[in-house]
């Protein structure tokens, strides 16, 4: 089987937050029917593309359906009454989403800090060794673990180089490379048509491009617009959102 596992393709909370943000939904008033419908469609799409669907997504789908069922029951029971917030079956999920989003925001802050601070480089090698008797020296990182780590990093580095070589033969381009290409394209053109973009691509390249765009959209790197089901997809710059 040909299974794709998307790296850092985050969990179901991300997907829900994406829907909420895209449709400018009030988080305390999620249209659960629409959202769960879309969520299921998304899982179908993942299955269609043979992306490994993590069990968390299935669990979330079940949760959404359960909430929906509870809301249906409530609808029958209290048709006339105004629903109170406290026993809204959506509330626990909403709280989880907010809790998660909070850390997502703080992680963006961290990323920003790292970005700002990355140009402070530390001093590495310093010659004091020649002035010392080597036999007195104890290197604090001289452990089997650090030897193993060193070997590991050689293996990783070399495998990466070899992996790149392999890919040239089978896949002309990786998702990561595609992402870079698309980002550049969006920066240059600010919007472009998916169908136009893929017109001369091989099948595998189309799939890779599609996955790359999906991933970028989920990471808020760009915006995708589709007027109607099966229409062309327009890829747009996301700059105005930040």
């Amino acid at each position: 089987m040909f299974k794709i596992k998307l790296q850092d393709f985050e969990g179901p909370f991300d997907l829900l937050l994406y829907f909420i943000k895209r449709d400018e939904i009030d988080i305390y008033n999620i249209p659960i029917a629409n959202i769960s419908h879309e969520f299921l469609e998304y899982i179908n799409l993942m299955q269609m593309l043979d992306i490994e669907v993590a069990s968390e997504f299935i669990l979330m789908a079940a949760t959404l359906l359960q909430i929906k069922a509870e809301m249906l029951l409530r609808l029958h029971e209290e048709t006339e009454e105004q629903a109170s917030i406290e026993d809204d079956p959506r509330l626990p999920l909403v709280e989880q989403l907010i809790e998660y989003k909070k850390f997502k925001e703080s992680s963006r802050y961290l990323a920003h800090r790292a970005e700002e601070f990355q140009n402070h480089l530390y001093r590495k090698v310093f010659d004091a060794e020649t002035k010392l008797n080597e036999n007195e020296v104890n290197y604090k990182n001289a452990s089997l673990f650090s030897l193993m780590n060193a070997i590991n990093s050689i293996i990783k580095r070399r495998n990466n180089e070899i992996a790149r070589y392999h890919q040239v033969n089978l896949f002309p381009i990786s998702i990561d490379e595609k992402k870079k290409e698309i980002i550049n394209l969006v920066r240059r053109k600010s919007r472009f048509s998916f169908l136009h973009y893929i017109r001369s691509f091989t099948k595998i390249e189309i799939v890779v491009s599609f996955l790359a765009i999906l991933e970028l959209a989920r990471q808020n790197e760009l915006k995708i617009i589709q007027q109607n089901y099966l229409d062309d997809i327009i890829i747009m710059s996301n700059l105005n959102l930040n």
Binding site: D8, E10, G11, P12, F13, L17, K21, E24, I25, D26, I27, Y28, N29, P31, I32, A33, H37, L40, A54, E56, L65, K68, A69, M71, L72, R74, L75, A83, I85, D88, Q96, L97, I98, E99, Y100, K101, K102, F103, E105, S106, S107, R108, Y109, L110, A111, R113, A114, E116, F117, Q118, N119, H120, L121, Y122, R123, K124, F126, A128, N149, Q219
Partner: protein
């Protein structure tokens, strides 16, 4: 002040401090600098000094010295200076030269953390010590691989075990973490409630009007969907 360090002239004191910080490949805390300096004369390691008058005077002097060093480094256009990081002092390049050099070292890419890694780091930063199941509860997704890779990168560490069933490992952030994000201590992180407000503002359109959104034809659709689902 019995210690002879205090009897030295300022220039020599400065050179000693600068040497110590320059030689060290990690940040040096006030404590460790104090210990080294005290030990220069005595062979024993002093403990319980942190409240002593000597220690207090030393801190004042140390700050004075580092300000002076940085001032001199600045005036002589050195591309590095001493910064306060992870509760200690360390030489680091100035931003502008770091940028240039990173550009030159194309092969040595700065590690970029994945979104997942950043999320987990921020959860651990605010909630430490925290177990993996607790992290996964917040993220809603399995996080083992990323936690392991953060351990490997030395950005988090195992800091204990939680006294609940199964005694799961607890994780905390490291000094490496502080250094990566240019923090002197965890206190420098913004309050998590600030982000909460941000999120609420962003995701809440109208807090007063809460209605159920399920109409009759949706009900039918849903039921059809649930039927379909059971078939799978």
């Amino acid at each position: 002040m019995e210690n002879s360090f205090f009897k030295l002239d300022f220039e020599t004191q400065k050179a000693i401090i600068e040497t110590l910080i320059f030689v060290s490949d990690e940040q040096l805390t006030d404590d460790s600098i104090y210990n080294i300096i005290i030990n220069l004369d005595k062979e024993t390691t002093p403990l319980e000094h942190s409240n002593s008058e000597d220690y207090h005077n030393f801190l004042t002097l140390l700050n004075e010295i580092i300000i002076k060093i940085n001032d001199e480094l600045d005036k002589s256009n050195r591309p590095y200076q001493i910064i306060r990081i992870a509760n200690g002092w360390q030489f680091a390049t100035r931003q502008e030269y770091g940028r240039i050099v990173r550009y030159y070292y194309k092969s040595k890419q700065v590690r970029r953390l994945s979104n997942a890694a950043l999320e987990i780091l921020s959860i651990i930063a605010y909630r430490q010590p925290i177990t993996k199941p607790e992290i996964e509860l917040i993220r809603g997704v399995n996080s083992s691989e990323t936690v392991n890779s953060l351990l490997e990168k030395n950005l988090i560490k195992i800091s204990g075990r939680k006294s609940v069933l199964g005694r799961p490992l607890e994780y905390s952030t490291t000094d490496e973490f502080l250094k990566l994000f240019g923090l002197n201590s965890l206190d420098e992180l913004p309050e998590i409630t600030e982000f909460e407000e941000l999120v609420r503002r962003e995701l809440q359109q109208d807090e007063n009007d809460i209605t159920l959104d399920v109409s009759q034809d949706v009900i039918e659709q849903v039921e059809a969907k649930i039927d379909g689902l059971e078939l799978n």
